[in-house]
């Protein structure tokens, strides 16, 4: 079957595809998944290079920075100089007088617009500022330099207010209120989950571990900085060019702003230029987008706002920081009995998706391994810090850091090998977790075994070396967080057999376009370059809830497949009429309609289509499909089958710890995932490699350093995102379980790569030198201080508890 398959592929695909690797996927014999991969697929499963890769590599792709419109003005935003202050007065008169300035706006000049899930964030602030990131005024001018100069001419008088930067302090009664009208700093978002009886299970447990972990601010570091252009036409219909992961929801948000301006019945069109990375950062609409709209409305000209790197660090959102208390217990045999977690999340001054990450944290908390009794509670607390957003993994990396570090501690407390402990508790196919997740396919045990094998669990370790593991569960078949989890596809095929696919999906570099093209080509028996995927314009692309939750391959893929199937039906029908054969006998392959019984009758697809088009009463073929999966919103009790299927994985890290400096080196890394089916192993590995590197940065080096609410390192010199030179050897074994609901069996894999990285590394460090670091990032300072503490060295100059320096005389 394989040889047969591969020869066909060779004739069908571009020369960049390397057949050799196909074998590798199916080569995982002893670890192979529950079901056999499908046969007779040609383009699905191939290492097709990303569409438009050459365009990107040669600098032709148009990013927001490359888009200009005739008469366009340049907008700039003035940010707060205080973390918390009353705005006494804003004098914009000098700025307005500057030549070239067209519009100056402050919070007093704009209608009531509230951004975010909690509707607590106006695009320009009036009355008071609550963080350094607060937008207090905006300018549109004929030139960016003039706009910049105008900002300097705006005089804002502030009256400083007492501020709060620590969420635990902010929870206290007498803490300064960030939003007075809200009456408390604790958000009214009661994240609470309880099933089983945790207290009883605790009494029964043979082994219990309990500890506090923390995760700090990190940021997405998209190479393409943010930007937006707003353009009203003569009739006040609005076009917004923006880097967004949520074109349809952004359209709705922008429509809200248009309505707030008093414009009724207007259209909003969202156009996405090429997006230079997103990772969740573009899942909400931001002040700069709404400000561009407001400026454009007043200027009667298109207005573009572009962020520079510093602004990107200061005025886009971070990953949600968290303080996590966790207790877990197991019986004598290592079976998990309970998990009890309380979290405090620093919400920052405003609310975006960061505050809703507990909804996703619940997934690993309730369902990573089998746990009968679970209690979870999280509070989001306003502070005068920057506010958090969605970021790859959406809370899962934080929760998994606490869970998997604690699992390691528990395994050791129970005297059970950490790999074995995980195997004992691993989720299995076709089980329903107490939170109501219906697991269909599940290759977790296989992932654990594969990683233990590849990382060399049984090899002799040198001094200072250690191995650590951590597993993950993530949504792999969409996630119903909104009322709809759907995605639409429109499709047309022209006279030459070339297909235009209009999808709701968003490609932001991850390869959504390529995967969709592969699925459609496969279904219609076409070549990859016969498929043109259009995903950039809400005027022509159907609705989609957004590129989040690792859902695009699964949801947009199923949607595209649905449309392709309908189109195929029509093609087969006209072929059967033209060839006068039974439709059952017709196959589409290699740009032909094929009749197996009499190959003489085979007809070129283009010819067939032209014949149909240019006959009296002619017809052109088109199809549409809207796929909304059969998954469930979480109920009031936070139970429900959030996703059609779940992705599982295990990571293993082999590290070396320099005991004199505390520096951690990763010698090799294995990240095995049950992906259902690899539609494109190359893109899939790319997601895993990138995810792992992001996870290593999260584990070891990255931190947005805030001091009293101010970001101290808003640049790549001091924000330690890892570089190409820091890459480590990564193996990414792909395990295929062929999910019954996935397109050709696929599950999502966009986020998992960075989910269990930090705990795998933390566990490896413990294995190496016997110290457990519970706070991210795991800096050499923290490791060295812990080593000294462990050795009981009177570490002169260091307070082992605070890690602060003291006088040693």
């Amino acid at each position: 079957m394989l040889a047969n398959g591969t020869t066909k592929i060779a004739s069908k695909l571009a020369p960049t595809i390397n057949d050799r690797h196909l074998l590798r996927i199916y080569d995982s014999a002893p670890f192979k998944s529950c079901e056999k991969p499908m046969t007779n697929v040609y383009i699905v499963g191939q290492r097709v290079s990303k569409l438009a890769a050459a365009e990107k590599a040669t600098g032709r792709s148009k990013y927001i920075q490359d888009v200009t419109l005739p008469g366009m003005l340049h907008g700039k935003i003035l940010y707060s100089k205080y973390p918390h202050a009353r705005i006494v007065n804003i004098d914009t008169s000098r700025a307005k007088k500057l030549q070239g300035v067209r519009v100056v706006l402050t919070g007093e000049d704009i209608p009531a617009i509230r951004m975010g899930v909690y509707k607590d964030n106006p695009p320009l602030k009036a009355g008071k500022v609550r963080s350094y990131r607060d937008e207090v005024a905006a300018v549109a001018a004929t030139d960016p330099a003039i706009a910049e100069e105008a900002l300097n001419l705006i005089e804002v008088t502030y009256e400083a207010l007492p501020a709060v930067f620590d969420p635990e302090t902010a929870m206290q009664k007498d803490a300064p209120l960030v939003h007075e009208a809200h009456k408390t700093n604790i958000l009214k978002m009661p994240w609470k989950l309880h099933y089983g009886d945790v207290d009883a299970a605790r009494k029964e447990a043979a082994h219990i571990v309990e500890d506090r972990f923390s995760a700090t601010w990190v940021t997405h570091c998209c190479l393409g900085t943010s930007g937006s252009i707003a353009d009203f036409d003569y009739d006040n219909h609005l076009t917004v060019y923006s880097n967004t992961q949520i074109p349809s929801l952004a359209q709705k948000d922008f429509l809200g702003t248009v309505k707030a301006l008093g414009l009724k019945n207007r259209r909003v069109r969202v156009v996405k230029p090429c997006i230079g990375g997103a990772f969740g950062s573009k899942l909400d609409t931001y002040a700069y987008e709404h400000v561009a709209i407001l400026l454009a409305f007043h200027a009667r000209k298109p207005v573009r706002i572009l962020f520079d790197r510093k602004e990107e660090f200061i005025a886009t959102s971070t990953r949600q920081p968290a303080i996590m208390d966790i207790a877990q217990g197991c019986d004598e045999n290592g079976k998990l009995l309970f998990r009890d977690i309380t979290m405090i999340l620093d919400n920052g001054a405003y609310t975006s998706w960061g505050a809703t990450t507990p909804s996703v944290m619940m997934m690993p908390i309730s369902t990573l391994y089998r746990v009968p009794n679970v209690r979870y509670q999280a509070s989001c607390v306003y502070t005068n810090n920057t506010y958090a957003q969605a970021m790859r993994g959406y809370g899962n990396p934080q929760a998994t850091f606490a869970i998997e570090s604690s699992i390691d501690m528990l395994a050791r407390a129970a005297g059970i090998d950490p790999v074995e402990f995980r195997r004992i508790n691993a989720n299995q196919p076709s089980e329903v977790s107490p939170q109501g997740f219906r697991i269909t396919t599940c290759g977790l045990t296989e992932c654990i075994d594969r990683v233990a094998h590849e990382i060399g669990a049984d090899d002799v370790k040198k001094k200072g070396e250690g191995i650590g593991y951590a597993s993950l569960i993530h949504v792999g078949g969409g996630a119903r967080v909104y009322k709809s989890d759907g995605c639409g596809t429109l499709m047309k095929i022209n006279d030459y057999g070339k297909v235009d696919v209009f999808t709701g999906a968003t490609d932001m570099g991850q390869g959504a376009d390529t995967v969709i093209a592969q699925l459609v080509a496969e279904e219609l028996g076409l070549h990859i370059d016969d498929i043109h995927v259009i995903h950039t314009d809400t005027d022509v692309c159907p609705w989609d809830v957004g590129a989040h939750a690792s859902r695009t391959t699964f949801i947009a893929g199923n949607s595209a497949l649905g449309a392709a199937k309908k189109l195929k039906e029509q093609i087969v029908k006209i072929a059967s009429q033209t060839l006068d054969v039974d439709p059952q006998q017709i196959e589409l392959n290699d740009r032909m309609a094929i009749f197996r019984e009499d190959t003489e009758k085979n007809i070129d697809l283009g010819k067939l289509l032209r014949k149909t088009h240019f006959s009296p009463g002619g017809n052109m073929l088109m199809a549409e499909y809207f796929y909304d999966p059969d998954n469930e919103n979480l109920g009031r009790d936070f139970k429900g089958n959030l996703s059609m299927t779940y992705t599982f994985g295990t990571h293993g890290a082999r590290v070396k710890v320099d005991e004199e400096t505390g520096k951690v080196e990763i010698l090799n890394y294995v990240a095995a995932h049950d992906v259902g089916r690899a539609i494109n192993p190359m893109l899939l590995e790319g997601q895993v490699y990138g995810g792992v590197m992001m996870g290593i940065g999260y584990a070891l080096t990255e931190q947005v350093q805030l001091e009293k609410g101010e970001i101290m390192n808003p640049n790549f010199r001091d924000y330690k995102v890892l570089t190409a030179k820091d890459t480590v050897p990564i193996e990414a074994p792909i395990l295929e379980t062929t999910d019954p609901d996935g397109p050709y069996g696929a599950k999502g894999i966009g986020e998992p790569g960075c989910v269990p990285t930090a705990p795998a590394i933390a566990n490896a460090i413990y294995d190496a030198v016997g110290v457990r670091i519970k706070d991210l990032p795991i800096t050499p300072e923290r490791v060295l201080a812990a080593l000294k503490r462990k050795k009981g060295i009177d570490s002169c100059g260091i307070d082992p508890l605070t890690e602060k320096e003291y006088d040693c005389t």
Partner: protein
């Protein structure tokens, strides 16, 4: 970024006269990797940038065959030094430093002179050069003067350069026989990184290949300027170089260091690093001192 006029003099005198005629509104630029950042951050707002990169001069480091002095034009790039076999073979301490500055792109444009004149305590190029006892030649309206590099730095971003003066050349005196040198930049990642601590060390051994006849220890980010650990150097001189003496030298150097807390790292940790890295560089020096020139190897 504020616009500026870019001027391209061909000689030192022309550069200085341009500087003088735009006095107060001009700055020199070599590779621009420090100066352009300052302009972007509005810490410097010159109307004229006077390029030093087109001034004619040697395009590579040169060893004077008679005096065994090494001459490095201030205007050559880190990349040129990195790729020079002379530097690789004879001055591995400098090679260790320049090969890890920024990235290839940065090293292709940034100059060694700019690195010194910028005068930050983290300058990777400066630490090995002070360990090598280098001096610098400075040209100005009053002619040429020379000063030991260790006296060149006055504070963060400050040097002895007078307005309009140009650093033209770095001179490294001859090495003693049986000398080994090494530099380490300790950072959080492998590229695009300023040192959390930099240690450059040079040991010259007696014929027994064990006794230290001369020691130089340069420290970066251990004080407001690049410094030498004089007490540790004095301690090593005349002693056998081994685990014990190097550990002790490390401790002495750590005590001498005037480290402080910053957002990039805490003082106690930097002090720890001084001790550990001085010891480690000592071992590398020991090993390299025993090698014949040409037996290049990596740290």
């Amino acid at each position: 970024m504020k616009p500026f006029t870019y001027l391209i003099p061909k000689t030192l005198d022309e550069a200085i006269s341009l500087f003088e005629s735009h006095e107060g509104r001009s700055a020199y630029i070599a590779g621009g990797t420090d100066v352009l950042i300052k302009i972007k951050e509005r810490k410097l707002l010159p109307d004229y940038l006077i390029s030093l990169k087109h001034i004619l001069g040697p395009d590579r480091p040169l060893l004077n065959a008679d005096t065994k002095e090494l001459y490095i034009s201030a205007f050559i790039t880190h990349r040129t030094l990195e790729r020079s076999t002379l530097i690789q073979r004879t001055y591995p301490i400098l090679h260790d430093a320049v090969k890890n500055i920024g990235s290839v792109q940065i090293r292709n444009t940034a100059t060694i002179g700019g690195n010194l004149v910028n005068a930050v305590p983290s300058a990777d190029g400066a630490i090995p050069l002070i360990a090598l006892d280098a001096s610098v030649n400075i040209y100005g309206t009053k002619g040429m003067r020379s000063i030991d590099l260790i006296h060149f730095f006055l504070g963060p971003g400050q040097s002895v350069l007078e307005k309009g003066e140009i650093l033209t050349e770095i001179v490294v005196p001859p090495l003693l026989p049986r000398t080994g040198g090494a530099y380490i930049k300790f950072g959080r990642r492998k590229a695009m990184e300023l040192p959390l601590l930099g240690v450059g060390m040079l040991l010259s051994l007696d014929e027994d290949l064990a006794t230290c006849v001369k020691a130089r220890i340069g420290l970066g980010v251990a004080a407001p300027t690049p410094i030498r650990a004089f007490s540790a150097e004095r301690f090593l001189k005349g002693r056998e170089v081994n685990e014990q003496t190097l550990t002790e030298a490390g401790q002495i150097a750590a005590d001498e260091a005037r480290v402080r807390d910053s957002i990039r790292g805490v003082a106690w940790y930097r002090r720890e690093l001084v001790g550990v890295l001085v010891k480690r560089m000592g071992f590398t020096c020991l090993q390299r001192a025993g090698l014949k020139h040409g037996d290049s190897e990596d740290v």
